[in-house]
Symmetry: C3
C-alpha cells in the first residue's frame, strides 16, 4: 500500500500567487528526506477561509485516502488565521500533545511561540497536524513530532510509515 | 469521613476477561502506598464504549460519592480510545494542567507520549483523572500529579486526603 | 492612539469589600513598570458569576475599546472559579499556549500550579489573558507571557504596545 500524505498550504497570498508557497515545498522536502516507505504527496493550496480549509481536509482524507495530512500557515491569532479551527471542525478526536510539544520546542527560539494555536487531530484513518507557515519553524516542529507519527498512524489503521533512522527515529512501543 | 476513590479500568479485553486487568490493581497498590487517610476503593471495569464509561463515572461520583476517580486505559488515538471524551462529557470543569504535565513527564521516556489524550476534570465534588493503561506509565503519571490532588479535592469540597510524605509530598498552600 | 488595558478583578470577597483587591493593583503596577507607550487602565471588580464576568469582558473590549484585558482570580477548580469559562464564552479564538506556559512557569514554584485553568483568547481586537489571584503569581505569569503580548496585539490590530526593554523584551519577528 502506497501511503498518501496531504500537504495543505493555507495562505491568502500563496493562493492568489502574490507570494510563493514556501511551506508546502518545505514539508514535501522534509518528508522526502525522512520517509523510506513508498509514498506520494497530495498537495493543495487554499485561502484562509474556514470552508475552503475544511473541504480540502475532508477531500484529502475521505476521497484521496491520505493517512497523514500536514498543514502550513494560518495558526496565529490574526482575524484570518483559522487553520486550527478548521482542523478541529473536521476531526473526531483532538490530540493536544502535538500542539503542546511544538509550542514548547518553538519557545526555545522565540517567545512568540505561545501565539501559535497549532493542533492535531484524527479524522477516520488520518492524522492531521498543523504546522506554522515559516519553513525553518516547519522543520523544528516536524523534528519534534515526527518520531511519534508512524506509530500514531498504525493505531488509527492508516498506511505503514517507515523512516530513515539517521534522520528520524520513529518509535513503536514493543507491546500495546 | 471515609474517602472513596473510584478506580475505573477501561478496556474491551479486560472487560471480556481476555486480558488480566493490570491497570486497576496498579492504581490501587499506588494509593495504598501513598495515602495515609482512611479510604476505600470503588473499582469497576468497563469496555471502551462512550456510554458505559460515562455512566460508570457518574455512578462513582454521584451515587458512590467518590472524591477522586482515576481511570486507566483508552487515552490513545485509536478508534476505540474514548476515555478522555467520556470524561469531558461528564465534567463541569476541565483541568488542562493535568494532561499537560503527565504528557511532559511521559515524554522523558517515550516520544509517543504526545499521542496520549489524557485529561482531568471536576464533576461535583470529585476530581476525575485519566491515566494510561500501562502500569509503569501509571506510576510515572501519578508521581507527577499526586502532590496537587489532595489540595484540589479540598477546593472542590471532597474528602480530606493525606499522604505518606516519604512517598508523596502533598502540597497545600498556606493561604488562598 | 492611547492604548486601553482592562484590568478585571474577579472575586466575591473583593467585590463585597470583605477583602482588599490586591490582584488588580498588582497588574496595574506591573504595566506601569513594563509599558512605555501611552495607556490608561480600565479597572473593574466583579463577583465570581459567569454573566457578570462575561459582560465585564464584553464591555471592556466592545465598548471601552481595550486592546488587552488581564483578569485576576477565579482560575482554580472550586465551584465558584469560572473566569476561564467566561473568557472562553466571549472569545472567538482560544490561545492555549498562554495557559500552558503560565502553568509551566508556576510549576517551578508549586506543584499545585496544575490546578490553574487559566487561559487566553482573542475577542475582536483584544487579547484577554487570565492570571491567578495571588500578586506574586501574577508577576511570574506576566514575566513569562508579556514578551509575546505586544506582537499578538499588533496581529489582531489593537493598539501599539511598547515596553521598557530593561524589564520586558517585547519580541516582534522581523517578517511574518
Amino acid at each position: 500500500m502506497r501511503a498518501k500524505i496531504g500537504i495543505l498550504t493555507v495562505s491568502d497570498r500563496a493562493y492568489r500567487g502574490i507570494y510563493e508557497d514556501l511551506g508546502g515545498p518545505a514539508i514535501e522536502a522534509y518528508m522526502l528526506e525522512a520517509l523510506t516507505n513508498d509514498w506520494e504527496p497530495v498537495p493543495m493550496i487554499v485561502p484562509d477561509e474556514l470552508d475552503r480549509i475544511k473541504s480540502a481536509l475532508v477531500q484529502m482524507v475521505d476521497d484521496a485516502g491520505c493517512s497523514l495530512v500536514v498543514t502550513t500557515g494560518g495558526t496565529g491569532p490574526a482575524r484570518r488565521d483559522i487553520t486550527p479551527d478548521a482542523t478541529e471542525a473536521v476531526c473526531e478526536k483532538m490530540m493536544p500533545g502535538f500542539g503542546e510539544l511544538m509550542r514548547q520546542v518553538s519557545l526555545q527560539y522565540v517567545p512568540t511561540a505561545i501565539l501559535s494555536r497549532q493542533t492535531a487531530g484524527v479524522r477516520g484513518r488520518a492524522l492531521i497536524v498543523n504546522l506554522p507557515g515559516k519553513p525553518s519553524a516547519i522543520r523544528d516542529c516536524l523534528d519534534a513530532v515526527m518520531p511519534a507519527i508512524p506509530y500514531c498512524v498504525d493505531l488509527i489503521e492508516g498506511a505503514c510509515l517507515t523512516t530513515d533512522e539517521s534522520k528520524i527515529r520513529a518509535f513503536r512501543p514493543k507491546s500495546k
